[in-house]
Structures are given as C-alpha cells and as structure tokens.
Symmetry: C2
Subunit: 240 residues, 2 copies
Amino acid sequence: MTTTAGPGRPRLTEPRRPGQTAREEILDAAAELFTEKGYAATSTRAIAESVGIRQASLYHHFSTKHEILDALLADTVRAPQQFAERLAEHDGPATELLYTLMLFDAVHLSSGRWNLGALYLLPVIRSADFAGFRARRTELMDAYRALALRALDELKVPQDWAAPREALAGLPFRLVESVINERSDNMAGAHAPLHPPRLFADTAIRMLGYQGSVDALYETAQRLTAAITEDAGIPVAVEA
Amino acid sequence: MTTTAGPGRPRLTEPRRPGQTAREEILDAAAELFTEKGYAATSTRAIAESVGIRQASLYHHFSTKHEILDALLADTVRAPQQFAERLAEHDGPATELLYTLMLFDAVHLSSGRWNLGALYLLPVIRSADFAGFRARRTELMDAYRALALRALDELKVPQDWAAPREALAGLPFRLVESVINERSDNMAGAHAPLHPPRLFADTAIRMLGYQGSVDALYETAQRLTAAITEDAGIPVAVEA
C-alpha cells in the first residue's frame, strides 16, 4: 500500500524511516534495499514503496537510481575525506595523524546503519556516472598514503620490513576498509561490526612498524578528533 | 550470432574462450559477465551467447544461474582451503605455516583471470543456496585464525600490542583478502593486481609482531608450498 502524497504536499502517513526529510528517508530505504536485495534487483518503485511515497514523489528528489546510489556513496567518503584535509593542517608526528585518520574512518565505516561500503565493488561504480565519487575516494586513499609514507620515515622502518615501501603505504587504507568485509560476513545482527573500530587502527599502525603504546596513540587521536570535528563541523560518529 | 550446437553434439564453431570443456567455457563467460556487468544484470541467455552455445546447451551443464555462481565461488576457496588442511599436518613454527598459507592464498586471489572475490559481497551469497560455499570459506578463515593465535604465542606479542587477541587473529585473513579490493579499484588492465602477492603476506606477518626477516620466511614458504602441492595435487597458481 502506498500513500497518495505528491511532491510538496504534506505526507498522509507517519514517516516509516529514520530521517528528518523525505530525501533522507528515501536514502535510508535505498541503502537497505541496495545492501539487502542488491542494486540491480531494486527498482525506484520498490524504494518509493518502502518509504511509503509515490514513485513520482521520489523523482522529485532524485531523477535516476544512479543518482540515489551516488548520494549514498558520497556520504561514505565525504566525512573522512574532509577530516583528512583538516588533519593535514595540523602539526605533529605523521604516526599520530595517520592513526587519528584511521580511527575516524573505522568508526565512520562501523557506524552507518547499513553497510554501504559493500557497494564499492559493484561494476556500475566504474561507469562515468560515478567518476566524482571515485575521485573523492582516491583523494582519501592518497591522504592515507602520504601520511603512511611520512610515518614509515619517522618509524625508521628497516629496508626489508616489507618492500616496496610505496606498496606498503597503501595497506593501512585496505585494512581499515576491511571493516566493510567483516560487517558483510556477519550474518547476524544486521551486519553490525564484529570488533571495535580501534582494532583496525591499532593493527594498521603496527604493520607500519610502530612499536610504542597504542593506548597513548588512542588518547592523542581522541583529543585531535574532538578539536578537528568541533572546529570544522564535520559529523562524527559516536564510537560504540 | 549463436551456434546451433546442442548438448552432446560437436561444436560447430571454434571455442571462443579459455577452457578444455564447454563447462569451463561457460564458467569463464559467466565470471566475466558477473564481474563486469553484475550478477543480477546477467542472464543465462547472455552467458550462452557469450560462449557461442544455445541456452538449452547451457542448462545441460547448470540448471540455474545460482549454480553457476556457486561453482565459480567454490573455485575461489577450494584450493586455499585444501592447502590449509595439508598445512595443518606439517610441523614447524606457526609463524612459518601462517605465512605460507597467506602467500598461497594471495597468489591464488591475484592469479584468477577474473576478480571473482568481488562477488563475495553480493547479498545473494547470504541465501541458503550458498550455505556450502560460506561453510568452506569459514573453514579457511578458521584455519587462518588458529595459526595466527599460535603465531601470537610464538612471537610473544606484548599484551597491549592490539587487544583483544582473538580479534587481531582475524585480521591476517582480511589483509590478504584485500587483494580483491585492490584489483577492483584498478581501473586499467582488466583489474590486474597492483602489487606482488607477497606484499600481503609480508605485511600481515608484521602486524602480528614478527620482527625477523621476511625474505627468510618467503624462502621457507616456497619450499613448503612446493612440497604440499606436489604431494596433494593441489593446483598452484604461478606467481607473476
């Protein structure tokens, strides 16, 4: 059963989904259907029905299914990428900055209601429609890599630790991203994360050769995160 | 254009795809279409056309699209899972055994013509049809975890290295699996791996606290791999 509310007109039913606006409700419904049923298997009609609005009302907010997917994907990288930009303005050891970025990103990936990162591997993401999303994600990867290379210098990692260095510097991003795979493999509990986000930051900094206390890094990261997010108004997910 | 060759009858055209048998050609075509166009977007008819056989001939080998996907996924875990079973019969430090498993698995994930691991995140994998595949993959994850826990004991990793220990022991599998994400993000070259497989094994053993020479581990792993694969007839991918 769908409602008869059209664009602009007040909704006749109570909202069924979290979200302040119809747009947010549409995004939540699409996120659920894309991750639970699959992207190709989900029609815009099914999304509208799941929100409790007419398909015409949905088109008022998004003209295509690609546009909905793009909006969802943008949300997954916007906050960490903005955070990385702010972080680059801070002084301090790269080891601390990288750890702080990894912790922020791991919390962000862990906290979404739906496991949207699972959509990164869809073939459609490689099409021109998603060039903007890919560019932003590449910026985030590059921010990780630049900090990792500086951290490797600071940590005086021996030559044979894991060569080549440039390749090793790409792996912290990969380990943090594996939050997505853990969530996807968790068959129970709506794909909740299996482990606290800091596990990924703790382990990624170890693989670059950090031998000190991860508790000390964690405390520094919390202070730095609070300073950056308050300053820039970046939405910060609450760590469970 | 399709050929008129039916089940059992000789093919009228030259095979278009790698594979000794029609079954292998079907699997290769499906692997390409599933990873390049998407699973839901690919019909059995499109697979048959891509092989150059009739749809009826395809149904001679596979009764459903799920069955084709299941056969493809089974191939991605069978060899590493069998290898892990053989490895468990060998004596020696767990650090060496785990490294050997990671190297074998990373080579395996890097060497497939299509990046089939990208299909692990499809929602359909969570359905009952794929319970067998999921069970086998879980066995492989468990083999990783058991060796990682033993390696952590051997390496005398300090308490605060990255707690909890049980969670840390799950991450070597995740790092090796990120070969899939690297391939997926490589827009050029048909999703070829960006880095040599040993990078993942080298880095994963470091994150468990190994401080010795990875070159020494690599040599040991090559000897052990040769012994196990010759013995058991497990197909071993050639490292690039």
